[in-house]
């Protein structure tokens, strides 16, 4: 009756975060080859994502499919340690699929796109020094976007699309409660949900020949209701732990301005500036259905906005072969003290290369390779006090097929 134990108060579950690291800039193989610039050009069906206003400027109806196996290679050196820890190799498969079709007149085009603008796959394993912050995260957001694009004049296109998001998350972390066999407890949060938004853009062809695109992609708040919370904990404590959770993923809005320059008939230079409205991300909350052992979590995030600059070139080398290259830089929205193993984020440099090959007037193959070097960042997380240096390289080869008709 007397030696009351207050177990609950000290078993805190810090919440996860979603950052620049979760914005996936892989929505078209041609554009990836150009560092992801594409708001101010009309290259292919990927304009459904990059600028719905440019879709109507596409000369042909087409279907574009692509996939970009993503190798996220992170390293962590805990402060005071000499042991560099690496995440486990796992390949995330961001993909894109677009279809654009419209009447011969070319005044209007319809499109539908499915793509993965946000996602993350990182697995540090269950032995590493930060396992109580994260073992693994698999986050997917698949946007499906029906789109209409119209020519307002011969030189101005306007387009808009409705965005439906199917989001899913699987988050695993070790819990520092020792089981009878001496191993750690483990929490797995697994859920999916839906969100809605829009994507609209306008595209100008100026008299000088420069093309300009202005695009806004709205935020998509994806609610995860009734997700499964699986707590692998000692039997004696099991009844106090939750089995369900509610949360939401605030996927931020992006405003872009893009330019296309055409110094010769064979050369396209694209430049994009993107502003990512991460400041909407103030906190992340998990509501559990049973709070006997652990409280609901409300973790402050206090993000600033993120931004990126991207410059790419497309050179039509021969009738059939196009070569591409690009460079970019992205500014992290994650402030000091909020860096976590889920998104070991920092400013990043982007380098790309790509090629396109037309097998016929209808079939085209595109290959791309994107490298993102995320700067090394030494941090002490304000919530977990996990202190150390993160450094991440991301390698993304990609392949795409287009069919024009």
């Amino acid at each position: 009756m007397i030696k009351k134990l207050l177990l609950a108060a000290c078993i805190v579950m810090p919440a996860t975060i979603f950052a620049q690291g979760f914005q996936v800039n892989l929505q078209g193989q041609k554009q990836i080859g150009m560092a992801g610039a594409g708001a101010g050009t009309a290259m292919d069906g990927a304009s459904i994502f990059f600028n719905p206003g440019a879709v109507v400027m596409l000369k042909k109806n087409q279907v574009n499919l692509g996939v970009s196996p993503l190798f996220f290679k992170s390293a962590f050196l805990k402060s005071g340690s000499n042991n560099v820890e690496n995440n486990v190799d796992e390949i995330a498969p961001p993909f894109e699929a677009y279809a654009v079709f419209g009447p011969k007149s070319g005044k209007i085009k319809f499109g539908i796109g499915a793509y993965t603008p946000f996602g993350g796959l990182v697995n540090w394993g269950d032995k590493w020094s930060g396992k109580y912050s994260l073992i693994s995260l698999n986050l997917k957001a698949i946007y499906i976007q029906p789109t209409i694009s119209v020519k307002i004049t011969d030189n101005i296109g306007f387009g808009a699309g409705f965005v439906y998001n199917h989001g899913s998350v699987n988050l695993q972390r070790a819990v520092p409660i020792t089981k009878s066999d001496g191993s750690d407890s483990k929490a797995t949060l697994d859920g999916s949900g839906e969100g809605y938004g829009w994507n609209a853009g306008i595209y100008f062809k100026t008299l000088s020949g420069v093309t300009i695109g202005i695009v806004h992609k709205s935020k998509v708040v994806t609610k995860l209701n009734g997700g499964d919370a699986t707590f692998d904990v000692p039997t004696a404590l099991q009844s106090g732990f939750p089995t369900k959770f509610d949360s939401q993923l605030p996927l931020p809005a992006t405003t872009s301005i893009g330019f296309g320059f055409y110094p010769s008939s064979k050369t396209t230079i694209a430049f994009d500036a993107n502003w990512v409205h991460w400041n909407v991300y103030k906190e992340l909350a998990f509501d559990y259905d049973n709070n006997a052992r652990i409280p609901d979590t409300k973790s402050p995030r206090n993000y600033s906005d993120g931004a990126s600059l991207k410059l790419g070139i497309n050179q039509q080398q021969t009738d059939k072969l196009a070569l591409r290259a690009g460079v970019g830089y992205a500014f992290t929205p994650v402030k000091d003290g909020y860096v976590t193993p889920e998104a070991p984020d920092a400013n990043r440099i982007i380098l790309s290369a790509g090629l396109g090959y037309d097998f016929s007037s209808k079939f085209c193959l595109d290959l791309s390779f994107l490298y993102e070097g995320i700067e090394s960042r030494k941090q002490t997380n304000l919530e977990s006090n996990l202190s150390g240096t993160f450094k991440t390289n991301v390698y993304i080869p990609g392949i795409g097929l287009s069919y024009k008709f």
Binding site: V84, G130, S180, Y395
Partner: protein
């Protein structure tokens, strides 16, 4: 079709590149600084031996903080570190407590582990009131000299090897025949580096017996012995690190069963009860939250008349125990406010001595007193783990409420390492707390 062959090559190259190369971070170059870790020895008591859960057993020994330090020292030239381990067949050593289950009201059932013991018998030592439990001897050189129970006050007392079974275990002679002092024993073989964490028991025994079962070591005697100890340890040029004594009144052993909780429990049955009465040096009085009750107080005694117990010299008492000034809680169960202040005063003096002596010899100091005080509830997160000084759930203290869990010992090891690196310019890497467990739950 040469083009496609090239393409395949490029693709294969990319795949190879992306899978083979790991992202690298440059770790600091290993350096022993101005110290030499090739032969490290650990001086201390139960904390140094790896005592946990009310006993010394193999898993605790393996997770002792000196063993963790020694493991980390290997990166900067540390040598082998031999501990007087119990064998696998006697892995439960002295026996210990495990958490068997929880009662319906949330209180823990602690169950003694009594198999695979290393107990070899008991012996009565003339002039010593209680029999000494003896353990299977360990022969051979050792680096970890942690002896559970030893006080600084006892390190030059020659017969001590007959009175402490954990010390006797390390000595060649049998109990009753030993006359090697602890100080002579630990300095018999050469060494290059030492850690020393003696002195806890000079205050702890007083605190855990409510000020009734033991006395605080005299301050001047503590200073003289500490100085003698460090002088001898550094005589041959060895460098080392020492630790201060934690606040003995801040451990879960004295902060889990509270006067408030006892009173609330009694009032549930008898709402008229106003106070818990305790015996103090100035007579019985109502207890306050500043009086600390020991973890092992048998709560069943409360409120009942005391039956006569002639073997323990207890007379019958008709008044409800602890609820009436005429049958107040015995002093041995309560470290009352004056005793808390007394213990703190002595610990402050001991720590002043430790810091002064260490400064005089240029030794690294781990200020365990200040450090462990940062874990008072709600405590703090380290490496993503919430730690505080709560019993069972706090992740630091083991089931005896005094000694540490493997995670707690790993924290201590890391703090020693930080102090050593700071003092000697070395780069001993810290251990990952994630590799060590806390209290095992059923």
């Amino acid at each position: 079709m040469k083009k496609y062959t090239n393409l395949k090559l490029i693709l294969a190259g990319l795949v190879l590149l992306t899978t083979a190369c790991k992202t690298k971070i440059d770790a600091p170059a290993p350096s022993k600084g101005s110290a030499d870790f090739s032969k490290y020895i650990a001086i201390g008591n139960s904390l140094t031996a790896g005592y946990a859960d009310g006993g010394l057993y193999l898993e605790g020994q393996i997770n002792s903080y000196p063993n963790i330090i020694a493991k980390q020292m290997k990166a900067v030239g540390g040598g082998d570190f031999i501990q007087p381990l119990f064998t696998e067949a006697q892995s439960n050593g002295s026996g210990y407590l495990k958490l068997g289950s929880f009662n319906a009201d949330g209180t823990p059932n602690l169950v003694p582990v009594t198999d695979k013991l290393a107990v070899r018998g008991q012996i009565n030592i003339p002039g010593f009131p209680t029999p000494v439990t003896l353990y299977t001897k360990y022969a051979g050189d050792i680096n970890n000299f942690g002896v559970p129970g030893i006080k600084l006050q006892q390190i030059t007392f020659a017969p001590y090897g007959n009175l402490n079974g954990y010390f006797e275990r390390l000595l060649p002679g049998n109990a009753g025949t030993n006359n090697t002092t602890y100080l002579d024993f630990v300095t018999a073989k050469p060494f290059t580096f030492f850690t020393n964490w003696l002195g806890n028991n000079d205050a702890l025994g007083y605190a855990t017996t409510g000020g009734a079962g033991d006395v605080l070591t005299d301050k001047a005697q503590f200073a003289a012995l500490y100085s003698a100890l460090i002088t001898k340890l550094t005589a041959a040029g060895a460098k080392g690190a020492v630790a201060t004594i934690p606040d003995v009144s801040a451990i879960p052993f004295l902060n889990t069963v509270t006067i408030g909780a006892l009173l609330a429990g009694v009032q549930k049955v008898n709402p008229a009860v106003q106070a818990i009465y305790i015996s103090t040096a100035t007579g019985p009085r109502p207890a306050t939250s500043e009086d600390l009750v020991i973890l092992t107080f048998p709560t069943a005694l409360l409120g009942k008349p005391t039956a006569a117990d002639p073997t323990n010299n207890v007379a019958a008492n008709p008044y409800p125990y602890g609820l009436d000034p005429r049958n107040a809680m015995e002093s041995k169960y309560v470290l009352d406010k004056a005793e808390v202040a007394n213990a703190r005063d002595y610990v402050a003096s001991y720590n002043g001595t430790i810091k002064a002596v260490a400064a005089g010899k240029g030794l690294a100091v781990f200020d365990a007193f200040s450090f462990l005080n940062t874990f008072k509830a709600p405590g703090q997160q380290i490496e993503g783990i919430q730690f505080n000084s709560n019993f069972i759930s706090g992740n630091i203290f083991s089931l005896d409420g005094v000694h540490l869990t493997p995670k707690g010992y790993a924290i201590v090891a890391n703090e020693f390492i930080k102090a050593i690196n700071g003092q000697y310019g070395s780069t001993i890497p810290t251990a990952n707390l994630a590799d060590y467990r806390s209290v095992k739950f059923p």
